[in-house]
């Protein structure tokens, strides 16, 4: 039995190097594979995800939030949602879980070169986009980058360090908003679509990358369409129940497409051919 | 893989179900095509009949309460203690202070034996099961 065939579902052990508390609901786990040789050889692209195994909890797909430019570790930002993510939140530095991947079709990084970039994210939605942003900045993206990030409350704002760093870059404009203010917050209050209203964007020059809760996605898509954004210039990443992540078990199907193989990154043009719950009214 | 015909243990329809045995484990369940009730299909519980059989929290050894905690003991210790207690209470009350609950999930033969144990060995008619629920 050729051994490499056995690997299809077999995860690789990975040790937690560091746990960053983003907010009460989200933690970022910095991981490195226990096998150093495999760890060095490990590479991925922004937008791809890993199947994370936790003892007795099975597996769950989690998108990689770090940039592939920094080799040696991977960041997984995890929101407390189900049995596996709850178990992860109880893990500390030095604990071992297991990963397999990378899986999925990444963001089309090549098509972003030479275009203005608009990132719109809500809550944990910033995780996959963070990988794209940091990669663009690391590879010297000249055109302007606009980042709009919405959270529920100021204490819910995640990736504060990154937002700080992005703010200092001259070609990056980073704007935050919250649903509900808290004392000491002097920033914008309201939906991320309000921020979008004030941005001056050239639709034909800009690529929009979105990720967040379905309501936010629907609202933003509406605005972008009104401002003349072409469907193939709007890119998002979808979340679905996954089991095999290699296109066999069909849990993640959207009509005839599989989110694990044909996604998770889709352009709006592709999504419109499918009846996708997130797009319906 | 061997298919052994048995009767479903869930509701009162009594479907004919094949349990698939492989290397000492029950690894699947499927309907009998010609059985008068199942007729080649099962409800969702029938199709997953095999899933609870090998669950790790199945009771696998007798337990006895020792200073407040249920601790594993041998069959002989558990049974002799049980027989002594049941016999004592039945003897002292001529059977009226001992009660037995049988189960609609056990077989006819086991229900018959339990009511015989109650009446013949413990001299009581205090036996019932949740037929009313």
């Amino acid at each position: 039995m050729p051994s490499q065939l056995l690997e299809l579902y077999l995860p690789k052990a990975a040790e937690i190097q560091e746990v960053i508390e983003e907010n009460s609901q989200i933690k970022t786990f910095v991981l490195a594979f226990v096998d150093p040789e495999y760890n060095d050889g490990f590479s991925y692209e922004p937008g791809q995800f890993l199947m994370v195994s936790v003892p007795h909890c099975g597996e769950a797909p989690i998108s990689i939030s770090s940039t592939p430019v920094n080799r040696g570790t991977v960041h997984l930002s995890v929101r407390r949602a189900g049995k596996l993510t709850e178990a992860m939140h109880d893990m500390h530095k030095g604990d071992v879980l297991a990963l397999r991947g990378p899986y999925g079709r990444p963001f089309p990084m090549a098509s972003l070169v030479g275009r203005d970039l608009l990132f719109v994210a809500g809550g944990i939605g910033l995780a996959p986009l963070r990988s794209v942003i940091n990669t663009c900045l690391a590879t010297g993206h000249e055109r302007s980058i606009t980042i709009l990030y919405g959270s529920r409350t100021p204490s819910d704002i995640a990736f504060k360090a990154d937002l700080q760093a992005w703010g200092q870059r001259d070609n990056v404009s980073c704007q935050l908003t919250v649903d509900r203010a808290e004392p000491g917050w002097d920033g914008a209050v309201g939906l991320v679509t309000a921020l979008l209203g004030h941005c001056t964007l050239a639709p034909h020059e800009t690529k929009a990358l979105l990720c967040g809760p379905p309501m936010m996605i629907r609202a933003v898509l509406g605005q972008l369409a009104d401002r003349g954004f072409a469907d193939q210039d709007i890119i998002t990443t979808m979340e679905r129940h996954m089991k095999c992540a290699v296109g066999i078990c069909r849990h993640c199907h959207m009509d005839d497409k599989l989110v694990c193989k044909d996604g998770p990154v889709f352009t709006l043009e592709e999504l419109k051919q499918l009846n996708v719950m997130e797009l319906q009214g | 893989m061997h298919d052994i015909l048995t009767t479903c243990v869930y509701c009162g329809c009594g479907c004919g179900v094949y349990l698939h045995e492989q290397r000492g484990r029950v690894v699947g369940s499927s309907p009998s095509r010609n059985h008068p009730v199942s007729r080649n299909n099962l409800c969702v519980k029938g199709w997953h009949l095999h899933e609870f059989i090998h669950h790790p929290s199945r009771l696998k050894e007798p337990l006895m309460r020792k200073n407040g905690r249920l601790t594993p003991v041998s069959w002989d210790e558990a049974m002799s203690y049980a027989a002594r207690e049941l016999g004592r209470v039945a003897g002292e009350s001529n059977g009226s202070a001992v009660g037995l609950l049988s189960s609609a999930k056990c077989t006819n033969e086991e229900n018959y034996l339990l009511q015989k144990l109650a009446r013949a060995a413990l001299h009581t008619n205090n036996i019932d099961h949740c037929a009313r629920l």
Binding site: - | T7, L19, E110, Y112, A121, I127
Partner: protein, 538 residues
């Protein structure tokens, strides 16, 4: 079960499951058939595809109710006025089967007098269904040549459970819809072998085959067979045992394969009783809530690890075959009982379950011809099966009712023990759901079933939800006069306003802390289907 015993003389399903496919009209009352008895619902769907008409009487708009030609969304606990109203309409439009009444029944005049005194408008008012729809249902049932009635715990779990059943029997006898193929009155027994457990005499008042313990001839027969003297007085029922309380009569109990701490009403009383026993022995396959309170817990073999027989709802005795040996040190319940009996000085020695069934066949007339070798090579036999030559009985009372003539027993409305009021404005109905079973001992240990239905949900009408500020998924604190639980709300049109529904499968939401211990005087069945609760957002 007791209800039918008095009217027909036998408490089991009169006809077989497959006959439902040929019925012209199917009346389903107090049964969520597609969730509790899917194979029976399958026959109903087949019958409907062949042109049969379906009447569903259920407070909730279940899947079956949505499929029905006529759905009477009755107010819980008012089955008798509805059935009486239907019978009155059948009388007024002389759809009764006078020949059948004359030849096969008795005391019809007692029923007729009560029906003529009935005020139809008032009866319709009590059960909250408009009279025109009751009339339509009565006409539909009355005009059919072949009509069947299926009922379940929605009928029996009331203080007037026995009268409910007798009213159903009255309706069937009045229209001659019994004693014939493809007709009948079918109690859908809830569990795989509840029919068998009753047949085997696991009841306080009867030996196997319903031979009364206080009948001297029967008792002497068993005393000779078992050569031991037997107690003459009927024993305590389940509720009398588990609700004895501190000063209850019982000092020791042996509970085999049951979980009363979760399935009996007023759990606080049950726990108090069990904790005050000097000795509690439990045999089960998992450490249930009841087993945790025992002094000794014995590991039992599951149905896949032993051989024996189950009797299903249509009286079919079928083989259960061992697939694998008992796990770990567990032993079959039969071995446990035989070992215990020997230690108590009464030796029972049977080499195999087949030998036990031989003894049953000798002592229980309706199981006279049930031998494992016959059951081994057939799809089982339906009792009564008098001897080895007899091929079983597909439908009962073929020429005569077991008790000779079917007896009409008129019944009048008996309101539930506890109705909603200002303090407890909502009416709680408890019951089952499709993916789980009973107290979850088996079904909650099945990964896929737990994925499909993993937690308790309280079905609540959207309007009530809005008034209480609740959305689906919010937690609700639900209180009755006896206890309190927290449960997740599920807003749905399945239930009417003012009524809520939940289940007893989930130990973390022990609904039976709230239910009432009022029970039917005759059958001792507790009133699970009606009690008053108060709801508030957590």
């Amino acid at each position: 079960m007791a209800g039918l015993a008095t009217t027909f003389g036998s408490g089991a399903m009169t006809n077989s499951i497959n006959e439902i496919e040929n019925a012209q009209v199917i009346l389903v009352i107090g049964s969520n058939t597609s969730e509790a008895h899917p194979q029976v619902a399958r026959r109903m769907f087949t019958a409907m595809d062949r042109g049969a008409r379906l009447i569903v009487i259920d407070p909730r708009r279940t899947l079956l109710a949505r499929r029905a030609d006529i759905h009477l969304a009755i107010r819980p606990g008012t089955d008798i006025p509805l059935l009486n109203a239907m019978m009155r309409v059948i009388l007024d439009e002389n759809l009764a089967d006078d020949l059948f009444i004359e030849m096969r029944t008795e005391n019809f005049y007692g029923l007729r007098d009560m029906l003529f005194r009935l005020d139809l408008e008032e009866a319709a008012g009590i059960c909250g269904v408009d009279l025109a729809r009751i009339r339509a249902a009565a006409q539909l049932y009355g005009r059919a040549q072949k009509a069947v009635i299926c009922y379940c715990l929605g009928i029996t779990q009331h203080v007037c459970g026995t009268s409910n059943v007798q009213s159903i029997a009255n309706l069937a006898m009045m229209t001659g819809n019994v004693e014939k193929e493809d007709t009948g009155v079918d109690p859908l027994r809830g569990q795989n072998n509840v029919q068998g457990a009753c047949d085997m005499g696991a009841l306080p008042n009867v030996f196997p085959s319903y031979q009364q313990v206080d009948n001297d001839d029967y008792r002497e027969k068993f005393e000779r067979a078992w050569n031991v003297s037997l107690p003459p007085k009927p024993g305590l029922t389940l509720m009398q045992m588990t609700h004895g309380g501190k000063d209850g009569q019982l000092k020791a109990m042996f509970i085999m394969g049951e979980n009363p701490v979760l399935s009996d009403p007023v759990i606080s009383k049950v726990e108090e009783t069990l904790d005050n026993l000097e000795f509690l022995l439990v045999a089960d396959i998992f450490l249930t809530e009841t087993a945790r309170r025992a002094h000794v817990v014995l590991p039992a073999a599951s149905f896949a690890e032993k051989t024996g027989t189950f009797t299903n709802s249509e009286r079919r005795v079928q083989m259960v075959r061992q697939v694998i040996p008992p796990l770990g040190q567990s032993r079959t319940d039969a071995d446990i009982i035989m070992d215990l009996s020997a230690r108590l000085g009464y030796v029972m020695d049977y080499e195999s379950p087949a030998e036990i069934m031989e003894e049953i066949a000798m002592l229980a007339p309706i199981y006279g011809g049930m031998h494992h070798d016959r059951l081994e090579n057939s799809w089982g036999l339906q009792w009564p099966c008098w001897d080895r030559e007899h091929d079983g009985t597909p439908f009962l009372h073929k020429y005569y009712f077991t008790r000779g003539r079917g007896r009409f027993v008129p019944a009048v409305h008996e309101p539930p023990a506890e109705l909603p009021d200002d303090d407890y404005p909502f009416l709680l109905i408890t019951g089952r759901i499709y993916h789980q079973y009973h107290t979850g001992t088996m079904s909650r240990h099945s990964p896929l079933l737990s994925r499909e239905a993993g937690e308790a949900l309280l079905q609540l009408h959207p309007e009530d939800g809005r008034r209480l500020g609740l959305r689906s998924g919010d937690m609700v604190r639900m209180r009755s006069r006896r206890g309190e639980v927290q449960v997740k709300a599920q807003l749905t049109e399945t239930v009417k306003t003012g009524e809520v529904y939940t289940t007893f499968h989930f130990s973390e939401m022990p609904i039976n802390l709230l239910t009432i211990s009022a029970k039917d005087h005759f059958s001792q069945c507790p009133e699970y289907k009606v009690c008053a609760v108060h709801l508030e957002k957590v």
